[in-house]
Amino acid sequence: MVDIFYPFQFISDKITYNLLNLVSGTHLADSANFIIYDVLKIFFLLIFMIFIVSYIRSYITVEKTRKLLGGRKGIFFNFIASCVGVVTPFCSCSSVPLFIGFVEAGIPLGVTFSFLITSPLVNEAALAVLWAIFGLRLTLIYLISGIAIGVIGGYVIGLFKMEKHVADFVYDVKLKKLKEQETTQNERVGYAINEVKSIFKKVWIYVIAGVTLGGIFHGFAPEGILAKYAGSSLLGVPIATIIGIPLYSNVMGMIPIIESLVAKGLPIGTALAFLMAVTALSLPEIIILKKVLKKKLIITFVVVTGLAIMFTGYLFNWLI
């Protein structure tokens, strides 16, 4: 198969050996070459994925989603909500209005949660970095698990019938009808380019830092060092999940570091569980959701999502 990333290797070689004049075969040259190659590849995939997904997103507005899901019950709609979550970014400023808007449209709580779980868990930027670092197969596994966790997590939360644990004011909000804004093709492309710029500006530094740290770890930590501690233990998955929750770090920078840990023997399922916990359950997100959810529902959300992530971790430790 043709390696579509070959041009990046070529550029990386040129920079390492010609521009920086490093001697081929030395530790330094190898590391520099590896870091430049990875960074180029990640940057390319980030731009590509963010552009495509943002363009698609310009067609899927919250207003349309509300109409589609309003008053619908059944696991199929959990699935649709999860899929919408994949292409919708979960930004802290829009999550609360979105939640209220969903409730007001009569979307069942379980379906709303399917969206709330998958939306931060699967986003195009994380998928791009996963693809660059771990390859396409693991990226697809991540994507499918992310949707499955949203569908099942939301469905289970729906079974608990916790409607009264939503903050009372939510039910008082009435939305005025708003006419859809018209969007031209030019605006859609402009929006996608803007998204690429704004996300890129936010993450590039973390990508470089993450790849560099990962590269250093690759070079210096002894092989299999983590397998000894984290590999055989059944506790690895829950520990990784629990550590991941308060860590609200930039997942783009985290992925290359985790890959270097996997290379030294960290089981892949444990690594997945950790990355998922970092993205799906974060303290700032929980604090924001506290505005609209009462304590019991927040705890249920964290526990159900956490258990689903652990299950995924065990599943892939066992499968791969």
């Binding site: 507005t61 509300r66 400023c93 209005p97 209220i100 909000v173 505005k291």
Partner: protein, 76 residues
């Protein structure tokens, strides 16, 4: 004229406010810029994707940061 910027205080809302100020300056108009940050209030306009810009009680755009040029058109 009254311009309202709807948003909970995220970076995009601040950018939209800046653009609105610039648009006012450039078109040499005077208007009051009001920031609406309370969620029930934002939602009473029917807005779910922030930031949004409202000119004289009419929602002009939502879910995006309107450019200076776009805002100039809204206030003219």
């Amino acid at each position: 004229m009254k311009i309202e910027i709807l948003g909970t205080g995220c970076p995009n809302c601040k950018k939209l406010e800046e653009n609105a100020k610039k648009a006012l300056e450039e078109s040499e108009k005077n208007a009051e810029i009001i920031k609406v940050t309370s969620i029930p209030e934002i939602m009473s306009y029917g807005i779910m994707s922030t930031p949004a810009i409202v000119v004289d009680d009419e929602v002009k755009a939502y879910g995006k940061v309107s450019t200076v040029e776009e805002i100039k058109k809204m206030i003219n």
